[in-house]
């Protein structure tokens, strides 16, 4: 490995600047690619072809063209809207999603900043977008937007907890809050060991993240057939795409990265076989990331959406007690499982 990669975690200002530039380019490109994947995977699941024209080969430039179109569109702000709040809400939704990318380790050393409290940071930052949605819905002066915003807020409270608790389980088992440390602490078969605990934690995390990102089947805050994309009813042009489309895909990729990091062994090879370590960790990470993104995209068009009260019931009566119980089980495992079972 070249030396400068070895020392990638150095904190000289210019290295930090390079890192930030990389993140700032990777995230939009990733979001565009994610959007394209969304188009294509959903289309093929639905027995369609999806975009086929823009760019020539299977419409690869479709999301790019969409983005340009949205940027060029008129930015309409309703007369009765609370204008500053209305204007800045998309930023408040999008920036925290960018911040999520800072602590996702793409390789052992390819991380912007390996914080000691990386997990805390992630969970704290990931819940900020809901505030932006609330702002957007409230300031739009639209009834549908208001309903959507309130649903979003209610959903945030219900689903932040399961995510935190399932991540806490992972941190307990890893014995660290550092994201790289969590990856390093995992061993093959990542998700399935300790038996049951990892898998259940993963399922809870998955359900919680789907709800947090407002993806179907938990997309009540933006349900387009009920309340017409909820908080974003009044948005148009660039604010719409940053607040909604871009944020959605960027969020989805970020959470896929988190799930890979917490449960699927991050950048490490899928089987502990020596020759496989030749393949750089970033390849493994991307491979696992694709699987996770596909999971999100697969669930998305298949299921109908729940009702808001049913979702709350599911969270408070199912996921939260489940994840609490899981913490107990994980604690018991840490305390009482014999040493040879650990690896």
């Amino acid at each position: 490995m070249p030396e400068f990669i070895q020392n990638f975690e150095l904190t000289a200002w210019w290295i930090l600047a390079i890192k930030l530039i990389v993140v700032l380019t990777v995230v939009p490109v990733g979001a565009l690619a994610g959007g394209y994947a969304l188009h294509k995977v959903m289309a093929h699941l639905q027995h369609r072809l999806g975009p086929m024209y823009a760019g020539g080969f299977h419409g690869w430039a479709q999301t790019l063209a969409d983005g340009i179109k949205f940027v060029l569109k008129e930015d309409i702000i309703p007369e009765k809207a609370d204008k500053p709040v209305f204007k800045y809400a998309p930023a408040i939704i999008f920036i925290p999603i960018l911040l999520l990318y800072l602590v996702i380790p793409v390789d052992r050393r390819l991380i912007v900043q390996d914080l000691d409290v990386g997990l805390f940071y992630l969970l704290a930052v990931s819940s900020i977008p809901a505030i932006g949605i609330l702002m957007a819905g409230w300031s739009s002066a639209n009834k549908y937007a208001l309903i959507g915003a309130l649903r979003s807020a209610a959903q945030l409270i219900a689903y932040e907890l399961p995510i935190v608790l399932s991540a806490a389980t992972v941190a307990m088992l890893a014995g660290t809050l550092s994201v790289v440390g969590i990856v390093e602490a995992q061993d093959w078969p990542f998700l399935f060991w300790p038996p049951g605990i990892g898998l259940i934690a993963f399922i809870i995390f998955f359900a919680g993240s789907v709800a947090e990102m407002n993806l179907p089947p938990f997309d009540m805050p933006v349900a387009e057939s009920e309340i017409i994309t909820g908080a974003f009813t009044e948005y148009s042009g660039m604010r719409f795409i940053f607040g909604y489309f871009f944020a959605e895909t960027a969020h989805m990729i970020a959470f896929s990265g988190l799930a890979v990091t917490f449960f699927l062994g991050g950048y490490r090879p899928i089987v502990p076989w020596e020759p496989l370590t030749v393949i750089p960790g970033i390849v493994w990470f991307m491979l696992k990331l694709f699987v996770m993104v596909f999971l999100y995209l697969w669930v998305r068009p298949t299921f109908p959406r729940l009702r808001e009260d049913q979702l709350q019931k599911f969270a408070w009566k199912g996921l939260i007690p489940g994840s609490l119980g899981l913490i107990l089980v994980a604690g018991a495992w840490i305390l009482y499982a014999p040493e040879w079972l650990w690896h």
């Binding site: 093929h44 699941l45 027995h47 697969w298 669930v299 298949t302």
Partner: protein
């Protein structure tokens, strides 16, 4: 089925039971099943037609756009009058022609100045095509004529005439259809239809099976007589047609055998024939010739039924039993390729290839017909694709009569026509 109270009750109970079963909790199995369904579709062959690149083969009856055969229009205004939303605009002036003979009276004639259809208003009901007594309007399956301005959707007669090139010959009818000239079969299941459509067979004119599109007027006549039999009966002059005298050797065959024979001859796989067997067997109770008859149906039925346009062409039906000599699909491919190379538009090439295939299916040996020898598609008026109407006259001399497999169509044509 009689409405039996107990039966209804039983049905209701069964249904309610089934409902209860389906409402039972299944704990996530249903979710997984749903995921399996979508995943399976991910790997299935996609059936999407990529429209601007690939075009769907629409049926020939498709009501896409109305095409005008300008030469046939006599400015009778029937279409404009019958249109439910009055979207047809016709202007004309009277022209005085010199007398035919010296000392005769000068003749007056309507000349069409403007024929426009406002497709922004048109509801595509097809009444105008149906009422036109002179076969001047046809349905084309063309549909790409969108405009940026609603006013430009009013298409004038030049554009309408251009569409004539895309009009397809009417399709053959399903087995069991009543053909003109046939006595009505005894209705097996239901009360008979009051002897409708018994067109006197002796009335046959315009009889020979010409290549489908070349013989358009004749087949139009046929379809008219067959679809509107009562009108044909009303108008004794209406020429009807004789069906293709095919399959007479099957006439005495037992029904299932005859059916399958028919199916196989149509080039369908035997399994297909089996699936169709019920339909075929019903049809097989009819005179076999009827089930075999390949007959064109028109999309402007009432047209010649009134006997105004077409005169009688006294032609005895040719008696030869044609046998298929070429593979229809192969013929289709060849002709399509030839036509495209010759510079025909894709639609026209396709239409001609289809004509060739139909001929091949009927066992009609293909002769170089005017359509196929003609290289370019003229805009309007279109010649060759449809022959001139034959008001009281013989068909155009170049029309071939390919049942007898002529190589020189002109001579053969003249022979039986007398």
């Amino acid at each position: 089925m009689a409405l039996d109270e107990r039966e209804v009750q039983r049905e209701m109970d069964a249904a309610a039971h089934k409902l209860r079963k389906e409402k039972k909790r299944t704990y996530g199995i249903g979710l997984l099943k749903g995921l399996a369904v979508t995943l399976r579709h991910l790997f299935k062959h996609n059936t999407v037609i990529e429209y601007p690149d690939v075009k769907q083969d629409l049926p020939s009856r498709t009501r896409g756009v109305i095409a005008l055969k300008e030469e046939n229009c006599t400015v009778c205004m029937l279409c404009a009058r019958e249109c439910p939303d009055w979207c047809i605009y016709i202007d004309s002036h009277k022209e005085t022609l010199p007398p035919k003979r010296a000392g005769g009276r000068p003749r007056k004639r309507n000349v069409l100045d403007r024929f426009a259809i406002d497709y922004a208003l048109c509801m595509y009901c097809g009444i105008c095509v149906e009422v036109c007594p002179y076969d001047a309007l046809f349905w084309s399956r063309e549909f790409e004529y969108a405009e940026y301005d609603i006013r430009e959707l009013t298409h004038e007669k030049e554009k309408l005439s251009d569409w004539m090139a895309t009009v397809l010959p009417p399709p053959a009818l399903e087995e069991g259809a009543l053909l003109p000239g046939q006595p009505e079969p005894p209705a097996p299941a239901a009360p008979s239809g009051d002897g409708a459509a018994a067109v006197p067979a002796g009335d046959t004119g315009a009889a020979e099976m010409k290549p489908a599109s070349a013989a358009r007027p004749a087949t139009q006549t046929a379809s008219a007589a067959e679809v509107r039999p009562e009108q044909a009966a009303d108008a004794p002059k209406a020429p009807s047609a004789v069906q293709e005298p095919a399959g007479s050797e099957h006439e005495q065959a037992p029904a299932p055998a005859a059916t399958s024979a028919t199916q196989v001859e149509e080039g369908q796989p035997p399994t297909k024939a089996e699936t169709e067997a019920p339909a075929g067997s019903a049809a097989a109770t009819e005179p076999e010739a009827q089930t075999r008859a390949v007959r064109e149906s028109g999309d402007s039925p009432s047209a010649t039924a009134r006997g105004e346009a077409t005169g009688e062409i006294e032609t005895p039906a040719p008696a030869a039993v044609p046998t298929p000599t070429e593979d229809p699909d192969e013929v289709y491919e060849t002709v399509l390729k030839d036509q495209l190379e010759a510079g025909s538009s894709p639609q026209v090439a396709e239409a001609r290839a289809k004509v060739a295939r139909v001929k091949a299916e009927r066992g009609v040996r293909r002769a170089p017909t005017p359509i196929e020898t003609e290289k370019k598609v003229p805009s309007a008026p279109v010649t060759g694709h449809f022959t001139e109407p034959v008001p009281g006259g013989a068909p155009a001399a170049e029309e071939p009569k390919p049942e007898q497999g002529p190589v020189e169509p002109t001579d053969e044509e003249k022979g039986p026509d007398g």
